[in-house]
Amino acid sequence: DTAVSQTPKYLVTQMGNDKSIKCEQNLGHDTMYWYKQDSKKFLKIMFSYNNKELIINETVPNRFSPKSPDKAHLNLHINSLELGDSAVYFCASSPRQGSVEQYFGPGTRLTVT
C-alpha cells in the first residue's frame, strides 16, 4: 500500500546511455513532481505535472524528458547520461497544484560511470 513508489531504487549506468525512472502514486493526487538531490544534499525541483499537463519546467537540460501517461504516473527519461547526472531523484505528489504538503517517493539513486 505504498503511496508513492519509484523504480528502480538503484541505477548504475555508463555515460552516454539512455535510462528511465518510473513513478506511481496511488493517492489520487492531481499533481506530481520530479526532484533532484545532489551530492551536497540540495533538493531542487525539476518538473511538475498537474493532471498530466506540464506545469513547472525548471532549468533542466532537454536530455531530461518527463512523461505522464496518466494522473497516477510520472516517468523520467534521461538521454545521453553524463557524470553530473549522478544524484538521487525523488518523485513526489500532492493533492493539487500549489499544495505545500507533498508526498515523496523513496528515491532512485542514479550513478553514472
Binding site: 508513492v4 551536497k40 544534499k41 540540495f42 533538493l43 531542487k44 525541483i45 511538475s48 506540464l54 506545469i55 513547472i56 519546467n57 525548471e58 525523488f90 513526489a92 497544484q97 500549489g98 505545500v100 504538503e101 507533498q102 508526498y103 515523496f104 517517493g105 523513496p106 528515491g107
Partner: protein, 115 residues
C-alpha cells in the same frame, strides 16, 4: 522566494524537547511556513505547516511570532528515531503557469539524538 536560514546541525539527548529556529526575514504576505523531515536514504516527509501564531499536530508544534520573520519547530521528547534532517521552507502559490509554486529546500538542520 523567501530565503531561509537555519542551524546546520543540532544535538539532543533522548527525551528532551528540541527547538529548531528558522529565519526568513523577507517572508511575503502570502507565504506559508512549512517544515519537512528527511531520514537517510528516504524522501522528505511533510511535518507541519503554518501561517502565524501556533500550530500543533501529533508530531510537532510550530511557533510563529507576529512579525513572521522567524519560526520555531518544536519536537517534544525526542527519541533516537527523530534523528534526521529538518528543512524549513517558505513559499506560496503565486499564480498559474510555469514556476508558479515550488518547494525550495535549503541545507536543513541535521538533528542528532543521542542516547
Amino acid at each position: 522566494l523567501a530565503k531561509t536560514t537555519q542551524p546546520i546541525s543540532m544535538d539532543s539527548y533522548e527525551g528532551q524537547e528540541v527547538n529548531i529556529t528558522c529565519s526568513h526575514n523577507n517572508i511575503a504576505t502570502n507565504d506559508y511556513i512549512t517544515w519537512y523531515q528527511q531520514f537517510p536514504s528516504q524522501g522528505p516527509r511533510f511535518i507541519i505547516q503554518g501561517y502565524k501564531t501556533k500550530v500543533t499536530n501529533e508530531v510537532a508544534s510550530l511557533f510563529i511570532p507576529a512579525d513572521r520573520k522567524s519560526s520555531t519547530l518544536s519536537l517534544p521528547r525526542v527519541s533516537l528515531s527523530d534523528t534526521a534532517v529538518y528543512y524549513c521552507l517558505v513559499g506560496a502559490l503565486r499564480g498559474s503557469g510555469a514556476g508558479s509554486y515550488q518547494l525550495t529546500f535549503g541545507k536543513g538542520t541535521k538533528l542528532s539524538v543521542i542516547p
